[in-house]
């Protein structure tokens, strides 16, 4: 029952969010701020996690291939597939759910409890449109950039690990990396990324927007934002994988 009500409220909020912004220049300025806050500021964490996880995937794969029948170039191939199909779009989106989701929910939640949202409303501004639309737009446009960056660094990390540990030669790794490439895997990764970006920004925005009470509720909303968007990401990952890959 509660779930259905929340879903209804969520849809209503999205309805008032997706309206034409009152003022184009104001919207564009908000969008730039969000690009920096939600996007550019995430490069650091995405870089670190991508390089290390790419390296770990490569080493694990190399370690697990102990059959002489399987060529070591498979390590390059597997690393690429893992990074593009699952690791970058899903794991990095989960990390972003933690970083960006909590930020969105606490920012909007604080504005709610300090009556800044009421102030917007009585000025005649549509607060959902003014606050949430730039965040959703920025996430949808910028997360693909972050994920592409993550894919490149992940593969680079895998290659680096193989070369440094001498498990696989650079030539073998690159041979595998370049072989049997299916461009659709990248499309699939980008579709997932965009869907996850929408989930993170809209769900966190919704939870922040509906905070009632004080600082404790703001904290609770930001935790909920991370939990709910993570669960939804995993759930939609399953659905999208079913729909797109099989």
């Amino acid at each position: 029952m509660l779930m259905i009500r929340m879903l209804g409220e969520y849809l209503l909020l999205m309805f008032s969010t997706f309206k034409r912004p009152d003022k184009g220049p104001v919207f564009r300025r908000q969008l730039m701020i969000e690009f920096i806050g939600l996007g550019v500021d995430s490069f650091g964490i995405v870089a670190i996690i991508s390089i290390f996880t790419g390296a770990i995937v490569a080493i694990q794969t190399a370690y697990n291939i102990d059959s002489p029948l399987i060529p070591l170039s498979m390590v390059g191939f597997t690393t690429r597939q893992m990074v593009i199909l699952e690791f970058s779009p899903t794991i990095i989106s989960l990390i972003l759910a933690g970083k960006v989701g909590s930020r969105i929910a606490s920012e909007i939640g604080t504005m709610r409890v300090t009556q800044q949202i009421d102030a917007l409303r009585v000025m005649g501004v549509n607060p959902a449109n003014y606050l949430i639309l730039p965040k959703i737009t920025a996430s949808i446009l910028f997360n693909p950039v972050l994920i592409t960056f993550s894919i490149v660094l992940g593969i680079f990390g895998g290659w680096g690990a193989c070369v440094v540990t001498d498990l696989v030669t650079s030539t073998d790794f690159i041979y595998g990396l370049r072989g049997w490439f299916e461009p659709f895997t990248v499309t699939y990764a980008m579709i997932k990324t965009v869907v996850f970006a929408f989930i993170i920004s809209s769900v966190s925005g919704f939870l922040g927007y509906n905070v009632q009470g004080g600082s404790i509720e703001v904290g609770r909303a930001s935790t909920k934002a991370v939990v709910y968007s993570s669960i939804l990401i995993i759930f939609f990952d399953l659905i999208l994988t079913q729909l797109l890959l099989i």
Binding site: K23, Q115, D118, A119, M123
Partner: protein, 248 residues
């Protein structure tokens, strides 16, 4: 002029506003007074549409407001300036950006015109050289004044102030009261002020509405309030040692 017609509001069985009807007049400072919890803020929120009344209507210069859709309400709200009990400044914006916000959203002014207007409003509330400070960097009284400047920046026809001088020292409180009353007369605004400060009442109360337990208990002005024989109002007016001593 704002007409309040038979407003009822309860929260979970608890009647907070019981059939309130009154008018707030143009060019005058209209006060809503009453004890803490008597329903002043709820009445103001009904007027601006942040709380939907269970029954009754608010009419802005012959335009019914309460039943309108959110979209239509927005149009009337563009003519309002609201000062919230806590100020409600945008904390990610500087003072200047706060005051400029309504101009950015609803006017086509050039940047210079907007800056002129912002500086004019800030000067009007006696604030200079604070343009680039953030709300967290200024005092409570300054925040109130910035909030007033923001409320008047887009030349509203209706100004609502919820306890504009609570938590301020008597001197600053008086300055803010003066300011509100001056602005009201100067620009012929319909101003509604919530307060439980007797000083404000006697200073600027051109029309006074006294709420008691959610009912409209008494109406009058700053000259008639001291001669009242209404016991509840008397208790409210003479609730401080200072006023009791003066009356003796």
């Amino acid at each position: 002029m704002i007409e309040v017609n038979g407003i009822h509001k309860s929260f979970a069985e608890r009647m907070v506003l019981d059939n309130i009807s009154t008018t707030f007049e143009k060019g005058k400072t209209n006060l809503i007074i009453g004890q803490s919890g008597s329903g002043k803020t709820v009445l103001m929120k009904c007027c601006i549409g942040l709380v939907d009344p269970d029954a009754g209507d608010i009419i802005y210069d012959n335009r019914p407001f309460s039943g309108l859709s959110e979209k239509r309400k927005q149009d009337i709200r563009k003519e309002m300036g609201v000062l919230f009990q806590g100020g409600a400044l945008f904390d990610s914006f500087t003072v200047e950006q706060n005051v400029m916000f309504p101009l950015n959203m609803f006017t086509t002014m050039s940047l210079e015109e907007k800056l002129d207007r912002v500086n004019f409003c800030l000067k009007r509330v006696n604030l200079v050289n604070v343009n680039n400070l953030f709300p967290s960097e200024i005092s409570g009284g300054m925040m109130k004044r910035v909030a007033i400047a923001r409320a008047i920046s887009n030349s509203p026809s209706y100004l609502f102030c919820d306890e504009p001088n609570s938590g301020l020292d008597p001197k600053t409180a008086e300055v803010i009261d003066e300011l509100i009353s001056e602005i009201t007369e100067e620009y012929n605004i319909t101003t509604v002020v919530n307060t439980h400060d007797m000083n404000s009442v006697l200073q600027i109360g051109q029309k006074i509405t006294f709420l008691y337990n959610g009912k409209l208990w008494w109406e009058g002005n700053k000259d008639t309030i001291l001669d009242t024989d209404n016991p509840e109002l008397k208790e409210f007016v003479f609730s401080t040692e200072l006023t009791r001593r003066l009356i003796k």
